[in-house]
Symmetry: C2
Subunit: 138 residues, 2 copies
């Protein structure tokens, strides 16, 4: 059992269960690639679908993972880098979504600046998604 996984869970006040360890392990190995729910199901065939939903939801609430939006209409999740807490996510990096293979990767070096929005609007989070063809598809 990877000790870092145990630590991550503990740091986020999450009880260590086999399910959570497995999901977290998959996300860590994904290495910057956002994973959609059905994909997780395939990778963890013994996992209960509903529990998977709740696990991901919990992870998100505790600041462990963040949802990634792209034009594939499936919710994807990726590990948060640092500094994300229960109270505030800081996912200010861009994501790249490949139109061919459907893969979504985090582009950590591209960060979103702040934008001037119309009066009365408040921005709490910014999503920047670049779409196109990735290196392995081009």
């Amino acid at each position: 059992m990877d000790q870092s996984i145990v630590d991550i869970l503990k740091d986020h006040q999450l009880r260590r269960t086999p399910m959570r360890v497995e999901v977290l392990s998959v996300l860590i190995n994904a290495n910057g690639t956002a994973i959609a729910h059905p994909e997780l199901e395939r990778m963890l065939p013994d996992a209960d679908r509903i529990t998977l939903y709740r696990t991901l939801k919990t992870f998100e609430e505790k600041g462990l993972v963040h949802q990634v939006v792209d034009t594939s209409n499936a919710t994807k999740y990726a590990l948060c880098r640092d500094h994300c807490t229960e109270h505030q996510h800081h996912d200010d990096h861009a994501h790249f979504h490949c139109q061919d293979c459907g893969k979504t990767v985090c582009l950590d070096n591209i960060t979103t600046n702040t934008f001037q929005v119309p009066a009365g609007f408040t921005v709490s989070q910014t999503h920047l998604v670049l779409e196109g063809t990735c290196d392995s598809c081009s």
Copy 2:
């Protein structure tokens, strides 16, 4: 019958059907607000749900509307401004998604610049989504 709607359809090589005229009309009147599928169903109670899917898909393929991504997991559609063709969308403006009322509006004055992506990657489209509270909810 609004003549501009007829023209828009003709310009995009789309046959004029009552369904398409109605959907297009709703999108035009939405005036920069992206509309989700269930919302369209409510506004056009007589429309067949499946045909609605296909109509929107066709509109998108012909460069008439574009999908808008936000964190509500419902596909939303908004009219393309200009220059969108069958072959290339040019939706380089940002969208604002209100976390309270769920509304998504186009922010035409905020445009996305180009970003430096890793070697081997090609960007064909950029999505910028600002999330927060809109003017009528704040």
